[in-house]
């Protein structure tokens, strides 16, 4: 594999494939070129959905196919069970698109994934795109083109915005990963930065962060040691303290997780910080010389 986490050989199943979202995005993923080999929908095994076979359980799908990754379009109250099912079936990459999963359920998902050595992307993520090879999740297909910029983000649409800007400026992407907007998610910035730093395909990294928590500050400590350049954009400069800005994690509490603190940490670590999203491509070009 030359890419990180997934590539063009990754076999994917869709949990919740017969729901509206599942069906729509299975078609979109297939259109992007993702190898979707099957779907899971309890009680609907034996049918077809979006042209792929449907199974009653993940185990049934795994008995029939080599499965490398699963993506969940499962309502929040049932998402924990579906995630545990995928992890227990031995699938090594689990992408959880679902939002509003109770945080205690997320603790259980992440704990089980850690025990089994499973990579969990999300919850509350747009997913992961290995540009031109494989898309697992929900981003619109047209903006992602192959290239050498790695993108890691906490938020979804904002990332499409930035990726669209990159693409419009001739900067294709190696891999684009959404960590997820919740307080407890499977991957951290550092986990992904480590992979980008080692990935021969990636020449520079864009980090899309936001206020709240200390994920960006943790990332800054790692960026200090990185050889590849990092450009960051942090959303939420204008957010008032004590208010949760959409994402469960996006809240400034007791003076922690502020925009200023994050920008300062990233700048001190040698990252270039964009003030507005559309400035990112220019900073990347500057960084790459």
């Amino acid at each position: 594999m030359v890419a990180i986490i997934i590539d063009e050989k990754t076999n994917v199943i869709v949990q919740g494939v017969t729901g509206n979202q599942g069906l729509f995005h299975t078609r979109q993923m297939l259109a992007y070129g993702t190898r979707v080999v099957g779907g899971v929908s309890p009680g609907k095994g034996g049918r077809e959905a979006a042209g792929v076979p449907v199974y009653d359980t993940v185990n049934a799908a795994v008995e029939a196919h080599q499965v490398d990754a699963s993506v969940l379009f499962i309502p929040a109250p049932f998402a924990k069970d579906a995630a545990l099912e995928a992890i227990d079936a031995g699938i090594k990459v689990v992408v959880i698109v679902t939002e509003h999963i109770p945080v205690h359920d997320e603790l259980e998902i992440v704990a089980f994934a850690r025990r089994r050595g499973t990579i969990v992307i999300g919850p509350n993520t747009f997913g992961i795109v290995s540009s031109g090879r494989c898309k697992i999740g929900i981003p619109p297909n047209q903006f992602f083109v192959p290239g050498h910029i790695g993108v890691v983000a906490r938020s979804g649409t904002l990332t499409y915005e930035i990726v669209g800007n990159l693409t419009a400026n001739g900067l294709g992407q190696s891999t684009v990963i959404g960590l997820g907007g919740d307080r407890v998610v499977g991957l951290s910035f550092v986990d992904v930065l480590e992979k980008f730093e080692k990935d021969p395909e990636t020449r520079a990294v864009v980090l899309v962060g936001e206020i709240g928590g200390n994920a960006e500050e943790d990332a800054a400590r790692f960026i200090k040691k990185m050889r590849k350049p990092v450009v960051a954009y942090i959303a939420g400069k204008s957010a008032p303290p004590g208010k949760r800005m959409g994402h469960a994690g996006a809240i400034i509490e007791r003076g922690k997780g502020t925009f200023e603190g994050k920008v300062q940490a990233l700048t001190a670590a040698g990252a270039r910080v964009a003030v507005l999203p559309f400035e990112v491509p220019a900073l990347i070009k500057e960084a790459l010389g």
Binding site: E99, E108, A111, A215, A235, S238, K243, R244, M245, P277
Partner: protein, 370 residues
């Protein structure tokens, strides 16, 4: 995240066997006197508001007898403490305070684990306690707080004998509340040592709002404005702000980014409204109505279609415009999934969509000024 008033938290504690002072929530001065007579004076009278600095703000009073309790309660009710109206009081026995501890369980997002925070320096804001006096212990979610961990925490708090046993009984109860009630925070500050007993003199409990569907029996305080409440019922994230440019975007990050750009260009956002990843026509239409209900100068819609389809958003906009009219200027930026169809629908309704986010924002700021 929803919060519980102190008295709600203490009722919860009591159900789990965590010792709390004898007392009762009251809404009237006579009732306060009755509780004081019942529990036995002296009593403490605490304003039930969601603020950490009630003492300094004059929201906590003491009374030596029922008559005094009536007087103090009457003086508090109907006033405002830290800017919050006092409508309820907790009247409870005044504890003998031999020492104050701090105990809390919350979620450490970076470690992805629950964390127990304890200190023998309780009674003040934990942020003000020097790090060397704070015990932080991550909890293995598969084990919880086993007896051995409770023993070790007691030891590190310097406890022995009966007090250590009390602490060892209390810690697993606190963790059970945290887990069983989907709490984001369970905090006792101070946990008062009163002779050989430990008593929760305060209770701060916040609950994960994504888990409220399975915590139906739990009372909590709804701090949201009517518009926020309405938005939440529709599955939208809405925060009211004090500007005049109403904003709707799809995705928390891009919504924040849109507000940031408005501010950057000198404008003032009226709200944060994340229409979510997969918003359909109906929710989009309702979101528009919420925006209109706040009487903004301009509406800025910023859609980068992923799950959300541009044609759905455009159609919803057209429907609202046709059905009820939209009395303020609207700037729409629309790209992504089914973009062409969306742009066409808007054009049919007399609106030229923007392609570039900051251009749309700049336009909205300009219109708000004029």
């Amino acid at each position: 995240m929803v919060k519980l008033f102190e008295y709600m938290g203490k009722e919860l504690f009591a159900r789990y066997g965590v010792p709390v002072p004898a007392g009762k929530m009251v809404t009237g001065a006579d009732e306060a006197a009755a509780v004081a007579a019942e529990t036995g004076a002296p009593v403490v009278i605490k304003s039930q508001i969601l603020s950490g600095k009630r003492g300094k703000g004059g929201g906590i009073k003491f009374a030596d007898n029922p008559a005094e309790a009536r007087e103090q309660a009457g003086g508090l009710l109907g006033t405002s403490v830290q800017g919050l109206p006092v409508e309820m009081l907790l009247v409870e026995e005044k504890l003998q305070i031999d020492h104050e501890f701090y105990l809390a369980i919350t979620i450490d997002g970076a470690a992805k684990r629950p964390v127990l925070i304890a200190s023998a320096q309780g009674g003040m804001d934990i942020e003000d306690v020097p790090a060397e006096y704070i015990i932080k212990e991550h909890i293995d979610i598969y084990l919880g707080i086993q007896p051995y961990l409770a023993r070790d925490i007691s030891r590190r708090l310097g406890l022995s004998g009966q007090l250590a046993r009390e602490m060892q009984r209390l810690l697993p109860l606190l963790y059970r509340i945290f887990r069983e009630k989907d709490a984001e925070l369970v905090e006792i500050n101070p946990l008062v040592q009163s002779g050989e007993k430990l008593v929760a003199a305060d209770a701060k409990v916040t609950i994960d709002d994504d888990a409220l569907y399975r915590q139906k029996d739990l009372p909590y305080v709804d701090e949201r404005t009517p518009a926020e409440r309405q938005a939440h019922a529709l599955g939208l994230s809405y925060v009211q702000l004090d500007g005049n440019i109403a904003v709707m975007a799809n995705g928390a990050g891009i919504t924040m980014g849109t507000l940031d750009i408005i501010q950057h260009y000198g404008g003032r956002p009226a709200n944060f409204l994340d229409a979510g990843g997969g918003t359909g026509m109906e929710a989009t239409a309702k979101a528009l109505e919420i925006l209109l209900s706040t009487n903004p100068r301009v509406i800025l819609i910023n859609i980068f279609g992923g799950i959300t389809r541009c044609d759905d958003v455009a159609a919803a906009f057209a429907k609202v415009k046709q059905e009820r009219g939209i009395p303020v200027p609207v700037v729409i930026r629309l790209v992504g999934t089914n973009e062409e169809e969306g742009v066409r629908i808007l054009r049919d309704n007399g609106i030229e969509a923007y392609q570039v986010m900051h251009e749309a924002a700049a336009k909205a700021v300009e219109l708000a000024r004029s």
